[in-house]
Amino acid sequence: MAIETREFTLKTEPFMLNFGPVHPSTHGVYRMRTTLDGEVVLDIEPVFGYLHRGIEKLAEQRTFTGFIPLTDRLDYISSMSNNMAYCMAVEKLAGITVPERAEHIRVILAELQRIANHLIANGSFLNDCGAYFTPFLYMFREREKILDLFEMVSGQRLTYNFMRIGGVSQDFPEEFMPALRIFLNQMPRFIDEYDRLLKENEILLARSRGVGILTQKAAVNCSISGPVLRSTGYQWDLRRADPYSIYDRFEFDIPVGIQGDCYDRFRVRMEEMRQSLRIIEQAVKDLPQGAVRAEVPHLVRPPVGEAYSHIESPKGELGFYLVSDGSIAPYRCHVRPTSLINLTALREMVRGWKVADLILIFGSIDICLGEVDR
C-alpha cells in the first residue's frame, strides 16, 4: 500500500515593525523600520534626523571661540572630547602652540571623560540586556564622582565649555588634586566589582557571546572606528597610530577583542577604562607648572586655508574639518560624526538575529544621537 506524504510547511509572511523615535531602548530619537519574520529580523531601514539642529551651518555665524559651546552639544555625553577636537583643529589652522601644562590638563580631562562615557555605554548595554538597572546604577554612581570633578573645574556637569583655542580656560582649583587622587585610588576596585558582577555571568554570556559578529574586513571597509573596530581584533587606536597632543609620552595598552561580538565590545570598554586610569596616573605625576592658555585674541582670525584634525574620542574617531577665509568665523565646518559612521554597519550585523538581539547589538555600538544628526 503506497502511503502518500506531503510536505507540511507553515506559510509565514514578513511584516513591518516600527521601532519608533520614542522608544525606551534606542539611545535618543532614532527610528528603525524593521522587517520581521516572526521573531527573526530580515532587514532594517534606519530613519534619523530627528535631532538635526544645523550645527554645521551655525558654525558659519558664530566666531571661532563662540562655537565651542555648540561643540559641547554634539556628543553630549562626552563633551570634553568634542571641545578638544575642535580646539585642536583651530590650532592647526592658525598655527598656535599650546603650553605644556595645558596639554597635560587636556589629557587628564579627556581620559576622565573616556571613563565616564564607557560607564554609560556599559550601563545602558546591560540595561538593554534586561538586568533591571542594577549595573546601570552602580556605574552611574562612579560617573557621579567624575562629574563632581568636572563641576569643580568648569562649573557645569554636562556641557563644560572648558577647552579654549590655545589651551584650557582656567587652571585647576586647589581641591582638585586631592579629590582626583582619592578617585584614582578607589576606581580600580570598583571596576573589579563590575567584573565580579558581570564578567562571567552566564546569562550575559549566552545573550551576547557570538551575537552581532562584525568581521575585521567588513569593519575596515565600512571605516568603523573606536571600540567597535578594536573588538574585531584590529589594533587601531589614534593615540598610537597618529599621536596627537602629548599621547606619545605615555605608555598604555590597547585592548583588543577576539571575535567582534557584543561581549567583546563590552569587555573592550571595561579594559579601556583601566588603561585610562593608567594614563591619568602618568599625566598627574609629571604635571608641570606654567600657563594654561596661549596668548590668543578673543576673535581669532586664522589665515586662509583648511585643516582637519581628529582625536580618539570615546566612541571612535571624531574629526573636525575647518575652512577659513581670514574672517572671525569659519567659512565651513564639517564634523566627521563617529556615531553615524559606526551606525552604517548595523544592517549587516543584525540580519538573521532576533528582535531581542537587535536591541542588544544596537546598544553595543554605543551611539549618541547628537552626533548622528548634528
Binding site: E151, E202, L205
Partner: protein, 165 residues
C-alpha cells in the same frame, strides 16, 4: 553558545548585590538635604555690576546666542558712555560663561543659585536693576577667584562615601 561555567558567575553576581544591600545608599534627599555646588558653578542667571560697566559691548559681541542687548548714550562732559538699558534674555542664554570671561572690567558674574525657574516666559528677560547682585542672587566664582574663596566648599562624592571594595 554553551552554558559556560555551570552557574558560578551567577553566584558571584549574587554576592555582589547582596553586599550592596548592606551598604549605605548613595542618595541625598533633596530638598531636605542640599549638596553644595561647585564654587565655579555657572548658575541660571547673570549678575551685572552697574558701577563697573562702561557699556563697551564686548559681552554682547562675544555671546554666541546674542542674548545681551545694550543701549547707551554718550556723556560728552565726562567722556564716558552712559548705559541706559542693559537687557539679557536668559531664555536664550546657554550659560556658557563666555561673556563673563570676555568682560575687560570684571563687571559680569554668573549666578550661584540654580533654582531660579519662573512661571512666565516674560519674566526671563531681565534688565537693569533686576540684574544686580543681591541676597537672593548671589554671585558665583566663575572667573572671579576672589568670590570663589568666600563660597562654601563643594560636597564631593569621593569624600562622602568611602567604603572599601
Amino acid at each position: 553558545m554553551k552554558f559556560e561555567r555551570f552557574g558560578l558567575g551567577i553566584i558571584k553576581g549574587l554576592t555582589v548585590t547582596i553586599k550592596n544591600n548592606l551598604r549605605h545608599p548613595t542618595v541625598a534627599q533633596y530638598p531636605e538635604q542640599r549638596l553644595n555646588t561647585s564654587r565655579r558653578i555657572r548658575g541660571n542667571e547673570l549678575i551685572w555690576s552697574r558701577e563697573r560697566c562702561t557699556g563697551c559691548g564686548t559681552c554682547a559681541k562675544t555671546c554666541p546666542q546674542g542674548a545681551i542687548e545694550i543701549v547707551t548714550s554718550t556723556n560728552l562732559a565726562e567722556n564716558k558712555y552712559v548705559v541706559e538699558m542693559y537687557r539679557v534674555d536668559t531664555g536664550y542664554c546657554i550659560q556658557c560663561g563666555l561673556c563673563v570671561e570676555a568682560c575687560p572690567y570684571d563687571a559680569l558674574f554668573m549666578g550661584y543659585s540654580y533654582e531660579r525657574a519662573k512661571y512666565r516666559r516674560e519674566e526671563l528677560v531681565q534688565a537693569d536693576d533686576m540684574l544686580l547682585e543681591s541676597k537672593e542672587r548671589p554671585a558665583s566664582g566663575y572667573f572671579h577667584p576672589e568670590i570663589a574663596q568666600k563660597l562654601p566648599r563643594q560636597t564631593l562624592l569621593v569624600e562622602r562615601i568611602n567604603e572599601e571594595r
